[in-house]
Amino acid sequence: MKAGLRITLDKIFTVVAGASVVCLCLVLVGVLGPMLWRGGSAVVFKGTVEFRRMQLTLFSRGNEDKIAAEVKQAEIARAKVYSEIEKFKAGIDAQTLTEKARQIYRQFGNDLRQVNTSAGEVTELRSVTRQIRDRLESAFASSNAAEVNESLAYVLSFKNDSRFKNTSAAGLIELAEQYRNAIHGVNLAERQRYYQEIRQVEDILVELLGPAPGAQTPALMMNRFGATRWDLAQKLLGRLLWYEEWTKQGPEQPMVRRLTPRSQRFAGTEIEGLFTYIQQNLPEMLKPKTTIYWQYFIDDSTPGHYFGGVGPEILGTLLLTLLAMLFVVPFGVISAAYLVECASDNLAIRLIRMSINTLAGVPSIVFGLFGLAFFVLFFLPIFGAPSKGCILAASMTLAVLTLPVMIRSSEEAIRAVPHAYKEASLALGASRFRTFVKVTLPAALPGILTGVILSLSRVAGETAPVLFTGAVALGPVPKSIFDPTRTLSYGSYDMAVGDKLAAMVPHNQFGMVVTLVLLILCLNTAAIVLRSKVFKKLAGH
């Protein structure tokens, strides 16, 4: 081959190899970057006043006075929203209005008994009031504007009647007046629709701003606070401003989503302008502020990861991983030592080796079911422990899962120790056991630690084996190794598949995944540092 061609080929090889490395790095950044970005938003985000209120209530964090002042300011901005909705509802909700009218009528009847009036007068007053009430009720119920106006005009004709002055019956007339104002410009035929949609608006407002003032504390924790994060608030604002409708274009056609501005749905009513007001004043109502929520990594989470952090998940993952390591390292090293040092090459040993290799490739869900059948249902009851998923069973399952990896890497490491070391030790009169413990094992330690690193990463991230053997999505922080635990891997799985709430807090899911990656990174870094220290010591630097 000509020298020129050879040099060209060399260069091409270098360029291709370099390019592939760059491509790999780009792919890695492309995958990890968005994940880190979105996961990072679990820790750094714009927190609203609701977030600070939640932190104060649930975790007693923050300056009480400052937050109270903030809440007050926000409430001033919000007041208009609630009062307008209240006013609008007054003219829409026929049922409530009817109830009110009836109550006033009853009250008036009771009042009449107290007053010293002649029986005939009472009867007449009663019948007039009943008539007023009935006309009012028909006005509330009717959707015909002319009919309603006629009924209201009849009722209002008693406005200046001296018989009703300063009695409870005046309430009926007041009610009629309110109603007339409320339905001003309202298409009465659509009252039912208004009623339903205003309920929808109220529901979204609860999610956005928290429970309305004066409402009783909701039973569910997640309903006690509004949007804690500005991004969540924006999402809810979108739902508030746009009415979503699924319509069929025609037969055999798929449903199509159509968005209409909600102000258009309420066109011509008093609250038409309210939506623009909310949009413009939302920052005033929620007071978003850039927050670094480092406590994300230590906080417990309140229902369904809606508020709070992933502290118990991290704890559980660490516990499971370290406990599994505690099981797998001694067993793995001892097995490897046997295979290298003691086992002769016969059929049984070859079968064992083959089994180990096969086990390394078995899907993890199989180990999960094995763990359920063996550890949870069989092994634990033998020792009198309750037969339920727990940290002990899960970590033992994980240990079994990663045992083949550990055995193989330890075996390689032990085999790679120079024979000369062993010979030297034996020639000095050491027994085989002593030679293994004092010479072979220390020399094989870096390789064994490599196995530990590999196992560690696998164990910390596995979901399927802990699915049946000790992981839960929600639950208390474990008190002993006989309690089930939350884990990062299972948590993110659970949020991905089930919870409707989870859709509202995607940052939490990404946060868990990123936390898991970081946790494995930390564990691995620790093991790698340890390994390089051991290696340096062995190499004599």
């Binding site: 030297a424 034996l426 009169g429 027994s431 020399a443 190499a539 630097h541």
Partner: protein
């Protein structure tokens, strides 16, 4: 010419047969499975002497050497016949304590093989096996070992340093110190200088000459000048058999066997 000089300086050690040999083999056979390692070896080694074993590659000299402290036991399917005694005790007897035997018969290997530990721990390895745990005792044993292998002056200030940081010659002397620290009676050396440069080799050779006063040394070597320089007795092995065993000067000047002569003069093979 050098070999003559060497033999003239130490004429009194050339006693082929002694009343109480420390190593004596009688019709000793060694098999690797079905393959013959060495056969029919009958020779005696006197205490406080240097015996060199020479011969072409594959002649069984290393096999015989390793048989003396049973290092061959590591290989599966080995078999022996005949007798091989150290200090009058048949070492292939079932009752022999291997640990004791190997502490009595130390070994130095072809390539320096210090443990990846500190210099101190390397030398203290044997004594610790013997149950010496007191710091002061260990210090003394280590110092004696290192002094005996003439390494003390070079390493006394950094005994905590890793043995792997030493040079090849120093490492080999450390291995000798390590072997000496168990206070053996016999020291087997399997081509101890083959991986070393001439300067380090001459240091080891000087060391062997010194050690002869206290230890019985059996050395396998490919270097015939070395055999002539350091040994009192020389055994010539060929194809698993002991061809000739005699005083070194006789082997090198006036061998009685033709094969020996051919090998020594370089006409062999």
């Amino acid at each position: 010419m050098k070999m003559n000089l060497r033999n003239e300086t130490a004429p009194n050690r050339q006693t082929p047969q002694c009343a109480c040999p420390i190593i004596s083999s009688k019709d000793f056979h060694f098999y690797y499975g079905a393959t013959m390692g060495v056969k029919n070896i009958t020779m005696n080694v006197n205490p406080c002497s240097v015996t060199a074993i020479i011969g072409p590659s594959g002649c069984g000299k290393s096999t015989f050497l390793r048989s003396i402290n049973r290092m061959n036991d590591l290989i599966p399917n080995i078999r022996t016949e005949g007798k091989l005694c150290v200090d009058g005790q048949d070492i292939y007897d079932k009752r022999v304590n291997l640990v004791n035997l190997r502490q009595q018969v130390g070994m130095v290997f072809q390539k320096p093989n210090p443990f990846p530990k500190s210099i101190f721990d390397n030398v203290a390895y044997g004594p610790r096996l013997q149950g010496i745990t007191k710091r002061a005792d260990l210090d003394e044993v280590v110092e004696q070992g290192l002094k005996a292998s003439v390494l003390w002056e070079e390493v006394k200030d950094n005994l905590r340093k890793s043995a792997l940081a030493l040079s090849g010659g120093q490492q080999q002397r450390l291995c000798i110190a390590r072997a000496l620290a168990t206070r053996p009676r016999v020291l087997l050396m399997d081509e101890p200088c083959s991986a070393l440069d001439p300067l380090a080799t001459s240091k080891i050779e000087d060391l062997i000459t010194q050690l002869k006063n206290d230890y019985t040394i059996v050395i396998v070597t490919h270097n015939m000048q070395q055999a002539a320089r350091v040994s009192d007795m020389t055994a010539f092995f060929c194809l698993g058999e002991l061809i000739e065993y005699d005083v070194t000067s006789k082997i090198f000047e006036n061998p009685s066997n033709k094969k020996t002569e051919d090998y020594i003069t370089g006409r062999f093979g």
